[in-house]
């Protein structure tokens, strides 16, 4: 069942000389979903996005949009649009002309394309700035223009390459709310590349975690966070302890770990550091085999029985909250 903007990657591969940037990945992005490609730098997420956009040639494999192969079409013929990391606004064109650029390339006459561009500026709430040059706008404003310019082509899939990384933290949170809202209004597929797991968790219906040119895990945000399949995912998503037990490595959320008396818990350990973080106290403890484990203990619980550095404690967690890891 392929919706109007279902995007499917089939053993997609990118090779630069002898090194593989993307190794035969398969994935299906649901129509109208907000997906995040998440991973550390150099993991192949940007290359994947650029292959979908058509700015990078596919070495092998294919990309299907709504069931038809788009892997060898030019960027503008694919039904995708890309928003670039640094926005890539044309510095010599006014905001209105930037937004109207693709219509101008199609040969749409000036009044029509300016009217359409005006509508999109309305959509991103930038109508007042049509006559300005990009250099006269703030980062957040430039981003909205870049968004309007990408959306004027009426894409089925919008590709966003680290769209929030150039903004300050405050603006980043505001803009991500707006991105999510816009995606819901338009109902098209958004594929958003990021290296920030908090950004991915906040935005995505679906998170695709990549590492070393392959997809490590893909699924709904809650599933990826709560049930990481590999050691890498558990560590990259954060908030998890990866613990080597007798029957293999497991992941345990640090807020599931609690303290008991020495000898009664799952794991004996020695407190190495205590950090007050407001709602929680982060307690770092070292278990046998030099394993560092973090326990996020609710503030009130911790101060009802405070611990000292160097004090031996027992660590425990509910048995059904630990997940066996693949490696």
């Amino acid at each position: 069942m392929a919706g109007p903007s279902t995007l499917e990657l089939i053993s997609l591969t990118k090779r630069y000389g002898t090194s593989l940037a993307v190794t035969s990945i398969n994935h299906k992005f649901r129509s109208g979903s907000y997906a995040c490609l998440l991973g550390p730098s150099g993991c192949g997420k940007s290359t994947t996005l650029r292959m979908i956009a058509g700015h990078e040639a596919v070495t092998s494999g294919s990309i299907l949009l709504a069931g038809s192969d788009i892997s060898h079409l030019p960027p503008a013929k694919r039904g995708t649009a890309m928003m670039f990391q640094n926005y890539a606004l044309f510095p010599h064109l006014s905001v209105l002309d930037n937004v109207a650029f693709s219509l101008k390339m199609k040969g749409v006459d000036k009044p029509t394309r300016h009217r359409r561009a005006g509508e999109l500026l309305e959509l991103v709430d930038m109508s007042k700035f049509g006559a300005r040059l990009p250099a006269q706008l703030s980062g957040g404003q430039q981003q909205r223009i870049a968004l309007a310019r990408a959306l004027i082509t009426q894409p089925q899939v919008l590709l966003l390459d680290e769209p929030l990384s150039a903004l300050d933290p405050f603006l980043r949170i505001r803009m991500r709310t707006e991105l999510k809202k816009l995606q819901r209004e338009l109902g098209i597929t958004f594929i958003h590349v990021t290296h920030g797991q908090d950004e991915a968790l906040a935005l995505a219906d679906e998170i695709v975690v990549m590492n070393n040119a392959v997809i490590e895990q893909a699924g709904p945000a809650r599933e990826v966070f709560n049930a990481p399949r590999t050691k890498f995912v558990a560590q990259f998503m954060g908030g998890h302890n990866v613990i080597d037990l007798a029957n293999g490595p497991v992941a345990v959320r640090s807020d599931e770990v609690s303290l008991t008396d020495v000898g009664t818990g799952v794991l004996p350990a020695v407190v190495t550091a205590i950090e007050y973080q407001g709602a929680h106290v982060a307690l770092m403890a070292r278990a046998h085999g030099a394993q560092d484990i973090t326990a996020m203990i609710p503030e009130a619980t911790f101060f009802s029985a405070p611990k000292e550095i160097g004090q031996p404690v027992g660590l425990t967690w509910p048995a059904d909250r630990q997940h066996a890891l693949a490696g």
Binding site: H55, F84, A88, L89, M105, R149
Partner: protein, 305 residues
């Protein structure tokens, strides 16, 4: 950035003010720091121009130059039809050379900046362009003569291929050879500034244009040319001023059959008619400034400097 710079600068100078005499007057420090350059410019730029301006009003006979203030030189210059045809000829050379060097230079720069992918090859090919500059202008000009002459390499090759039946006369000592030499000498002055502005174009702008559906020609016309305008303008200023001020190329390559303003001046100097030469020079200077002034109305080159 400027504001932050001045602030920290003022902060560090502040405590020193009481103790040190020279730093007590910031105006004086500024003048002292600017003075070497001012001195050089006054000595070598302002003074000579004033001198030329002054001499252009002097009077000259066959054997003497008399300090005076009259407009005889100018009225003679503007009254003679030769002046107009020579100025027109100079402008013609400038215009044709500009058009050819711009086309060639832009193509070369575009190739270097957008088709040569590796930096090493860009540097190698760029240096290759500068090799002709290792010899003097005169030698490069003279080396065209055996090539283009009536019995030169070009004519004999064309004859032996059967393209022509008799040698072409217009290859050498003609407007063609003058412009050929100009193009040969000055194309690099077009390539360098244009290449420089092209290298500063963010590659993602080209991708963004392609994403918006632009084809190669549309990208060139709508993105690359508008963004390289300052480079084009700087190259234009180089080429136009060099061609308009030239006199050697025209003399050698036209076999003394064509004239431009530079030759008019050099002839006057050869006849020791300094006041007349000075007046012609002033008029030439003004016309070059007007031409550049017109160019600058179209493009703001300040951000490139």
């Amino acid at each position: 950035m400027t504001i932050a710079g001045t602030k920290s600068g003022a902060g560090s100078v502040g405590p020193l003010r009481k103790s040190s005499g020279i730093k007590g007057r910031p105006g004086l420090v500024g003048w002292l720091m600017a003075s070497p350059l001012v001195l050089v410019l006054v000595l070598f730029l302002v003074m000579p121009i004033i001198m030329i301006g002054t001499v252009s009003f002097w009077r000259a006979t066959e054997f003497s130059i008399i300090p005076a203030f009259d407009f005889e030189n100018y009225s003679f210059l503007f009254g003679s039809p030769v002046t107009y045809s020579v100025f027109l000829n100079t402008l013609k050379y400038a215009l044709i050379t500009w058009a050819v060097t711009l086309t060639l230079g832009y193509t070369v720069a575009y190739f270097l900046a957008f088709h040569v992918r590796s930096l090493t090859w860009q540097i190698v090919l760029f240096l290759l362009c500068t090799i002709p500059f290792w010899t003097s202008n005169i030698i490069r000009m003279i080396s065209w003569i055996p090539f283009l002459g009536r019995n030169g390499i070009a004519n004999s090759a064309l004859l032996s291929w059967g393209v022509i039946d008799e040698p072409l006369d217009w290859l050498l000592f003609s407007d063609f050879s003058v412009i050929l030499a100009f193009v040969h000498l000055y194309t690099l002055f077009m390539v360098v500034p244009i290449f420089n502005t092209m290298m500063r174009i963010d590659k993602s702008l080209i991708e963004a244009a392609r994403d918006g559906g632009a084809n190669g020609l549309q990208i060139l016309w709508n993105v690359i040319i508008p963004l390289t305008k300052p480079g084009i303008m700087i190259g234009t200023i180089f080429v136009v001023t060099l061609v308009m001020g030239d006199f050697v190329t025209v003399r050698i390559m036209s076999g003394s059959q064509s004239a431009n303003v530079g030759r008019l001046i050099s002839n006057d100097i050869a006849l020791l008619q300094y006041p007349s030469a000075a007046a012609t020079a002033v008029v030439l200077l003004c016309s070059v400034l007007i031409v550049i002034g017109i160019f600058l109305r179209f493009v703001d080159i300040r951000k490139e400097l």
